[in-house]
Amino acid sequence: MANYRFYVVIWVILVAATVLEVETRFISSPAQFLVAGIIAISSAKAIVIALYYQHLRYESKAIKVLPLLALVALGALAVTAIVSLGG
């Protein structure tokens, strides 16, 4: 298992990503690109927290699959709910 410094480095990366995320908001670019970029950074931050602070990276496959199962079900709900609106 990693030492304190490792976790501090992860924290620095997460804070830097947050700053990048905020800065992205002010880039002059089409809205859909900005939204995609911001969501991508947020997702990356969430993944980093799960992998290194929740130690998911070091867990067995059986544990890793649990959050993925939830995400698959949510994906079905999200896609269906949004696509259903298409008349």
Binding site: M1, V8, E59, A70, L77, T80, A81, S84
Partner: protein, 761 residues
């Protein structure tokens, strides 16, 4: 606990059955004025809710409580006190729901589906509706805890020798049932929380055009359709247990049966839109869900074939439980076949909202499930009571109830054009004879079920003593024998271990057993008082919170004094989780349900934002500086708690204490910035749900739900600090810090998505 569930669910059966009787009496003749429209609506609504959610599911859970630990060789469920809390929440929520009809204005009257916008204050102003919504929320909490408990128990506490392939069909069925519960109930919980917010706080999720009926439909049916399988899968497991015993042979194609159960479980999460074919949604989506609905019938019919083929070329012992199991098998075929029609969009247009559908789901819910569950009561009666019931009386009740059931429900298939939920119908010569026949059937079926119950109560007291295995079953709950596989122990493969639950019946083994606690009941009472306060009179919520606080203090004391600490964890089957402890596995399963809750909340946000023609620029609404600061504060708190864990592992208690204290401090800073600074500022700008609609509704509910989670996390961190302060953790034994840390990081992850949604996009 299994007995408590059993007795309570039978009580709710009698309540819901009486309501069903009222419905049938009302519909016996045309133009009946016995019940008014509103009374009839309430009767039908409460009948549906209580029968499905407070009787059918909990009776399966009753048997699971009693027999799953016996079947897998566990001493109890993984988390006995949480199991007690599940029960008390189940009981109190049911009583709360039933009491709604006695409130001024009455209870809900628009069906168990609670469709929006009929469920909003505009169309259902009676406070009974709010109370029922809260009851459903409490029940969802009970069910979620129960699911975490059963899944962890089955995955992690199987005795050595109880491998996946040797595990009994009923234990398998309960594993799949609880997985489904874990996925299905969070969207229901979310739906009723949003509904309560609409009714009490003035949010507009279901009263606005952008949310409204379709949003409710998506959330409700994402829960509602799996609920059918939540009710039916335990019944299939029970039928398998009974017919294998009385056919005297193993289940035909057991591995296939388990695979089919898995397929049904997975597919049942992907068919909910067939309940929405008439809502005018996208045609391709309807087609897709038409196909998934047809596909699910394949593994389902496979399950039925497995059961039928088990009976092939055997000499059946037609005991009472076997008769009920065969009856259930017969009904599942009729219920299944009549359900397939609804998969077709065009046929659904014809059948939707008619008595055909009522007939179909009663053959599934009542015919299959109640017959199987009553069969289970007879089957396990000698095990639970150590006495035998009267076989002759049992058989009479079966035949009478079988006839009564068919006389009651088969006519529904001919009432193709009669709308359901109407309280009065004209003297139509095609309708009233069938309705009268159905009512006669009800007058046969209801008393027959009551006779079963009364008979069983009588023989519980006066029945002849039963032998330990009166059916000659080979199932582990009867034999109490668990073979040790040769790969695990270098001994004769015929070596047998005795039943652990029974061998320790009078010997406390160091865990929760033998140490009763009233705290779960107090928590449930506190939750009910809090809910009553929300529905009736807000200041009462303070009393509820006080009770909850007192219970929390008691929990702290018990935890710090290690009152319920387990002395040892015995050798168990661990694949595929290896060395993961049951506490940690339980936490991950809990987080799975939390992911679904917050994910669903975010989906609600995206949904109403997509459907809204205009949405204010969030950077103008919300202070980016506060949002960014809070993000960094939460990230830093995650760093602090992970450092506390590492310090504890290294035996550095001072650093661990500092890390936890920093986590607590940073969490409080987050809440202060959010609730003490940001929200008051927004209130000052008149940013209220009533004035600002969905932007304000989504903001306060999403960030409020997150803040509640931060608050719960802070309570848990405070507990850890107290334990560290009293040197209750060691470098080897500190799993609570890791598990609370997992939760805290999850709360952090949620904020990683809320921050951009409200401050950047």
């Amino acid at each position: 606990m299994g007995i408590l569930y059993l007795v309570t669910s039978i009580y709710f059966l009698i309540v819901a059955g009486t309501l069903a009787g009222l419905v049938r009496v009302q519909l016996a003749v045309p133009n009946n004025t016995l019940l008014g429209v509103f009374q009839y609506g309430q009767t039908v609504t409460l009948h549906g809710l209580i029968m499905i959610l407070w009787f059918l599911s909990p009776l399966g859970i009753a048997f699971a409580n009693y027999f799953v630990p016996l079947q897998i060789g566990a001493k109890d469920l993984a988390f006995p006190r949480m199991n007690a809390l599940s029960y008390w929440l189940y009981l109190t929520s049911g009583l709360m729901l039933a009491s709604s009809v006695f409130l001024p204005g009455g209870g809900p009257d628009n069906g168990w589906t609670f469709y929006a916008p009929l469920n909003t204050s505009e169309f259902s102003p009676q406070i009974g509706v709010t109370l029922v919504a809260l009851s459903l929320g409490i029940l969802a909490a009970s069910v979620t805890m129960s699911s975490i408990n059963f899944i962890t128990t089955i995955l992690r506490t199987r005795r050595k020798g109880v491998t996946w392939t040797s595990m009994r069909p009923f234990a398998w069925s309960m594993l799949f049932t609880n997985v489904l519960m874990l996925f299905a109930f969070p969207p229901l919980a979310l739906g009723v929380v949003l509904l309560t917010a609409d009714r009490v706080l003035g949010t507009v999720f279901f009263s606005s055009m952008q949310g409204g009926a379709l949003l409710w439909d998506q959330l409700f049916w994402f829960f509602g359709h799996p609920e059918v399988y939540i009710v039916v899968i335990p019944a299939l497991g029970i039928i398998a247990e009974i017919i294998t015993t009385f056919a005297g042979r193993p289940l035909f194609g057991k591995k296939l049966f388990i695979g089919e159960l898995a397929a049904v479980t997975a597919l049942s999460i992907g068919v909910w839109v067939h309940h929405m074919f008439m809502t005018g949604i996208n045609f391709d989506v309807r087609e897709a869900f038409s196909i998934t609905t047809m596909i699910i019938s394949i593994p389902f019919e496979g399950l039925v074939l497995n059961l039928i083929l088990t009976l092939r070329k055997t000499k059946l012992k037609l005991t009472t439980p076997m008769l009920f199991a065969l009856g259930a098998l017969f009904f599942v075929i009729i219920g299944g076949i009549t359900g397939v029609f609804q998969a077709y969009v065009v046929l659904d247009y014809a059948f939707r909202g008619t008595y055909w559908v009522v007939g179909h789901f009663h053959y599934v819910m009542v015919g299959t499930t109640i017959f199987a569950l009553i069969g289970a009561i007879y089957y396990w009666f000698p095990k639970i009571t150590k006495r035998m019931y009267n076989e002759k009386l049992g058989k009479i009740t079966f035949f009478v109830s079988f006839i009564g059931f068919n006389v009651l429900y088969f006519p529904y298939f001919f009432l193709l054009d009669m709308p359901r939920r109407i309280s009065v119908y004209p003297a139509n010569p095609e309708w009233w004879p069938l309705n009268l026949t159905a009512t006669i059937g009800a007058l046969i079926f209801g008393p027959a079920i009551l006779l079963s119950i009364v008979g069983l109560i009588r023989y519980f007291k006066n029945g002849k003593a039963a032998s330990t295995n009166p059916w000659g079953s080979s199932s582990t709950e009867w034999t109490g024998e668990y073979a040790i596989p040769p790969t695990d122990l270098p001994v004769d493969t015929t070596q047998i271990l005795s039943n652990p639950a029974e061998e320790t019946e009078n010997q406390p083994y160091g865990g929760d057993k033998g140490k009763p606690t009233y705290v779960p009941a107090i928590i449930a009472v506190g939750g009910v008082i809090f809910s009553l306060g929300i529905a009736l009179y807000l200041p009462v919520t303070i009393l509820g919170l006080t009770v909850l606080l007192a219970a929390t203090v008691k929990l702290f004391k018990d935890g710090i004094s290690d009152k319920f600490a387990e002395l040892k964890e015995e050798a168990m089957e661990t694949w595929p989780f290896g060395s993961v402890s049951k506490d940690k596995l339980g936490m991950w399963i809990f987080l799975l349900s939390e992911i679904i809750i917050f994910g669903s909340l975010i989906i609600v946000y995206l949904y109403v934002r997509v459907t809204s023609a205009a949405w204010p620029n969030d950077t103008q609404l919300h202070d980016l500086a506060i949002g960014t600061t809070n993000t960094i504060v939460l990230l830093t708190s995650s760093l602090a708690i992970i450092i506390a864990l590492q310090a504890m592992r290294a035996g550095n208690f001072k650093a661990a204490k500092t890390g936890l204290a920093a986590t607590l401090f940073l969490g409080l800073v987050f809440l202060w910035l959010k609730l003490g600074f940001e929200w008051p500022n927004l209130f000052g700008q008149s940013f209220f749900p009533t004035l600002s609609g969905l932007p304000a509704s989504t903001y306060y509910i999403l960030t409020g739900a997150h803040a509640v989670h931060v608050g719960v996390g802070l309570v848990a961190v405070s507990y850890l600090l107290l334990k560290v302060q009293r040197n209750k953790f060691t470098a080897e034994n500190h799993s609570a810090i890791e598990n609370v840390g997992l939760y805290w990081h999850f709360v952090d992850i949620v904020w990683m998505f809320l921050f951009p949604l409200f401050y950047l996009i």
